[in-house]
Subunit: 178 residues, 2 copies
């Protein structure tokens, strides 16, 4: 357990004062039983809607990719390696915001599925050059089609083409400049 429950248990709750009990009595009648809660200002909070949207989009992505068993992170690795062949693990990982130690297991997975290969560099024998295998290229091509016809298409039908592009442009700006 991260948050110490013992610390909480050992401190008397200040709400258990005379004033606290008065508040308790006041609140007992409130909160209309079966009704939906009001989000209030929460629905205007950037971080809140951003997080909820991200979870939904990832869920949809995973459903669209079920037949290929690719996560968003794995898809991003394949895309980046295809676009930048001849780069090493450190370069690919850091571009994606993945820490080098955490990239090892990811690559182990992709390599064990014969989607990607590590090649010892002849220039610098410390480096592993990353390349897509033929199977990796084929799977990525199929993945791109699924993304375009199922995932992006869903977003287009929800927002329209123009809004979809505007949304992505704004998110890219936030990601790079916020």
């Amino acid at each position: 357990m991260t948050v110490s429950r013992a610390a909480e248990k050992s401190s008397e709750k200040p709400a258990d004062s005379a004033k606290g009990r008065k508040d308790a009595a006041e609140v007992q009648g409130q909160g209309a039983a079966g009704e939906a809660l009001q989000l209030g200002e929460l629905s205007e909070q950037l971080g809140y809607v951003l997080k909820r949207a991200q979870l939904k989009v990832f869920e949809n992505f995973l459903r669209c990719m079920a037949s290929l068993q690719l996560t968003p992170a794995q898809f991003s690795v394949l895309l980046l390696v295809e676009k930048n062949p001849g780069r090493n693990q450190t370069e690919i990982a850091s571009t994606l915001g993945i820490l080098r130690p955490n990239f090892v297991a990811m690559l182990d997975n992709l390599e064990s599925r014969d989607l990607c290969a590590r090649i010892r560099s002849t220039n610098d024998r410390r480096s592993h050059i990353l390349v897509l295998t033929d199977k990796g290229k084929a799977v990525l091509a199929r993945a791109k089609k699924l993304v375009a016809t199922k995932h992006e298409a869903r977003l287009n039908e929800l927002l329209g083409q123009a809004n979809r592009e505007a949304l992505i442009a704004m998110l890219a700006k936030v990601a790079s400049e916020f």
Copy 2:
């Protein structure tokens, strides 16, 4: 380790074939050493920009809230309890997409800091009604001011008021309908 490294080790890499070595030779010269990588299609991927934007926004939120030591999740709990007094843990947690077991430690934390209180319901003694303490109300008020003057203000200066509202509206739509 989640992904079995043994499984990968036990399978010979298909890239270590005659064809694989030929590809390796081809790729060794590529990848201009010190230059930045090209994101390519990645910068158009909704999930990718969404995730990167979300991380940046949360980081900024945490910096703005450093003096109050409130995370985005904690802020959302305080906002929702203030807007919906008299509701129990299950209702507050599920509205926020937090699983009940995981909500316990969160509330322990907020209660130990005297921001929030659990009150045993008189109608149903299984339920804990949630309310903000006086300190919780005061801290939330200060938090709202910090969010408005630092966090939201930053987004406004980056996108402009109209675009900011459009962005949040689109994210809300994606979160609820995607």
